[in-house]
C-alpha cells in the first residue's frame, strides 16, 4: 500500500553558518529557503562571532548539501559550526586497516574499502543517514580515482565523512601506484 502524506518540515537546528557580512547571511537564508531547507536567521553567540552579527541556523546534519548549494549560488560564508560543543570541529582523523588484498579507510563513522591491485571500491559501510545507502550503490565497483565524490552528490554529515575516506583512499592508491 502506498500512502500519500503531507511533507511537514520541522526545524531542528544545531548548526550555524557564519558570515562576514549581513547581506550574505540574508542571501543565504533566501537561497536555502527556496531549496526547502528549514533555516532561520539568528544572532551568533559572542564567542562564535567572526564577522557580522547575523548567522543562519541550519539542521547540522544537512551541512553537506547546504555547503554545496551556497557555493553553487556564490554565497560567501566563513564556516559552518555546530551550535553545541563550540570547540568542536569536523573530525579529520582517518584510520587505515590492511586486509591483505584490500585497504579499509575509516573516517569517523564511515568506512570505504578498495582492492589494492585494481583500485576498485569493493564496499562502503557505517553511517546512518539516508544518502549513505545511495552512496553505497553509487561507489561500489568504481575506481577510487573515478568514483563520484560523496561531498558532491550527498547531503549529510555521513556523506562528508565518506568523502574524507574516499579522499584518503585516492592518496593511498596514488602512493601505491608509485611504489
Amino acid at each position: 500500500m502506498s500512502l500519500l502524506k503531507k511533507g511537514k518540515v520541522v526545524f531542528t537546528g544545531g548548526g550555524l553558518v557564519l558570515f562576514e557580512e549581513v547581506q550574505e547571511a540574508m542571501k543565504a537564508e533566501n537561497v536555502l529557503k527556496k531549496a526547502a531547507y528549514p533555516v532561520r536567521l539568528v544572532a551568533p553567540p559572542p564567542e562564535l562571532r567572526k564577522g557580522c552579527d547575523l548567522a543562519v541556523e541550519i539542521n547540522l546534519v544537512e551541512q553537506t548539501g547546504i555547503e554545496r548549494l551556497l557555493k553553487q549560488r556564490d554565497v560567501y560564508y566563513i564556516e559552518i559550526r555546530p551550535l553545541k560543543g563550540r570547540d568542536a570541529a569536523i573530525l579529520e582523523i582517518v584510520r587505515v586497516t590492511d586486509f591483505g588484498d584490500w585497504l579499509m579507510v575509516k573516517a569517523a563513522n564511515m568506512k570505504l574499502t578498495f582492492e589494492k591491485k585494481s583500485g576498485k571500491i569493493v564496499n562502503t559501510s557505517g553511517g546512518g543517514c539516508p544518502d549513505i545507502p545511495v552512496m553505497h550503490a553509487e561507489l561500489l565497483d568504481k575506481h577510487v580515482g573515478e568514483a563520484p565524490r560523496p561531498a558532491d552528490i550527498g547531503y549529510t554529515l555521513c556523506a562528508l565523512m565518506l568523502d574524507r575516506a574516499l579522499e584518503e583512499s585516492r592518496s593511498l592508491w596514488k602512493e601505491g601506484e608509485g611504489a
Binding site: K8, G14, G85, D101, N109, G128
Partner: protein, 296 residues
C-alpha cells in the same frame, strides 16, 4: 506486530506500509521492490529471515525513498506520529532517516500514549536523533558501533562527525565510553556495541561480550551492522529478553560471516543467506529455542 521504519535508497519511492516478503535479492512491500543492501534493506532482510525461520508473522515495514534530502524521512516521521497509537506495535525498530530532533520528540510523546508501550529499538540515524534530542533513555535498545558509541559518550555531539574523542576500534577504551554514555543519559537501557568485541550492556553494566567466531573481514561489508539490528528486533519480537536477543544476534551474525567465507568484497546479501543454516545449527544451543514454531 513488529514494525520496522526507515528510508531506502529508491528515488521517488512513496511512503509504503505493509507486510514484507522476499524474492531473490529483493524485498517486496506493497508492490515496491527494495534491494537487500546496506541500510534498512539489510536490516529488514535479516529480521525477515529470522521470523521466517521461527515461523512468526513477517515484519510490517514503513519505508520511503530518500536520497538524503529528507522528504521520505519526514513522511515516515509524520505517519508514525499520527498512527503509532492505533498501530500498537509490540516491537518498533527505527533505522535510517534524516535525524530530526523535533520530530523524534513528537514521536516519543505519541509512543507514550500507546496502551502497551512497544519495545523501542534504534540504530543508525534514528539513534543519532534519539540521542541528540535527549531521549536515549526512552529507548530499550541501541545497537551502535565503536564510532557511534564515542558519539553517545560525548554529551555535546549531535552527530558522529563532530565528536571530541574518536575511537575507531572497540578495544580497551570501550568500557570508559560506555560508562560515559550512561552517565550522560545518552544510552538506551540495553546497548549492543558492535565490533571486534561485541559488548552487551544493560543499564550501564557490561553483562556479556561476544568475540567468537572472529571474522574481521566482516567489518568492511556494508550492512553487517544492520543485520544484527534486524535479528535483535526479530528475537525480541519472538519473546526473548533484550539481552538474550542481543547475544544471539551477535553470535549469529559472526557465524553467518564464517559460513559465507566473507572477504571485504562480499555483499551483505550473501551473509543474510546464511542465517537459516546458522539458526538450524546453533539456535537451539544458544537460546533453548529448539523448535521452529517460535517462542511467543
Amino acid at each position: 506486530m513488529m514494525l520496522i521504519a526507515g528510508t531506502v535508497p529508491v528515488k521517488d519511492m512513496p511512503l509504503t506500509f505493509g507486510k514484507v516478503s522476499s524474492e531473490g535479492d529483493y524485498l517486496l512491500i506493497g508492490g515496491q521492490r527494495v534491494p537487500c543492501a546496506q541500510g534498512t534493506g539489510a536490516m529488514v532482510s535479516a529480521a525477515l529471515a529470522t521470523t521466517e525461520y521461527l515461523k512468526l508473522e513477517a515484519p510490517q515495514v514503513l519505508l520511503a525513498g530518500d536520497i538524503g534530502q529528507g522528504k521520505g524521512s519526514r513522511a515516515i516521521y509524520e505517519y508514525l506520529i499520527e498512527n503509532v497509537v492505533e498501530l500498537a506495535p509490540e516491537v518498533l525498530a527505527l533505522h535510517y532517516w534524516l535525524p530530526d530532533m523535533a520530530q523524534t520528540r513528537r514521536l516519543c510523546t505519541e509512543i507514550e500514549k500507546c496502551a502497551r508501550r512497544p519495545v523501542l529499538i534504534a540504530d543508525a540515524a534514528s539513534m543519532y536523533s534519539a540521542k541528540a534530542a535527549g531521549l536515549a533513555t526512552a529507548f530499550d535498545i541501541f545497537t551502535p558501533d565503536a564510532a557511534e558509541t564515542a558519539f553517545l559518550a560525548d554529551p555535546d555531539a549531535t552527530h558522529p562527525a563532530y565528536v571530541r574523542f574518536m575511537l575507531f576500534n572497540n578495544t580497551e577504551k570501550m568500557p570508559e565510553l560506555i560508562t560515559a554514555a550512561y552517565e550522560h543519559k545518552n544510552a538506551a537501557r540495553l546497548l549492543l556495541v558492535k565490533g571486534a568485541t561485541d559488548y552487551i550492556v544493560k543499564d550501564g553494566e557490561i553483562i556479556a561480550t561476544v568475540t567468537e567466531p572472529d571474522v574481521p573481514m566482516m567489518e568492511p561489508i556494508g550492512g553487517t551492522g544492520d543485520t544484527i539490528t534486524g535479528m535483535v528486533s526479530a528475537f525480541v519480537y519472538a519473546g526473548l529478553e533484550s539481552h538474550e536477543a542481543a547475544i544471539i544476534a551477535a553470535k549469529a551474525n559472526r557465524m553467518a560471516g564464517k559460513f559465507a567465507i566473507v572477504t571485504p568484497a562480499t555483499r551483505v546479501r550473501r551473509v543474510v543467506a546464511q542465517f537459516p543454516a546458522v539458526f538450524a545449527k546453533y539456535l537451539c544451543e544458544w537460546s533453548g529455542v529448539c523448535t521452529t514454531g517460535g517462542v511467543k
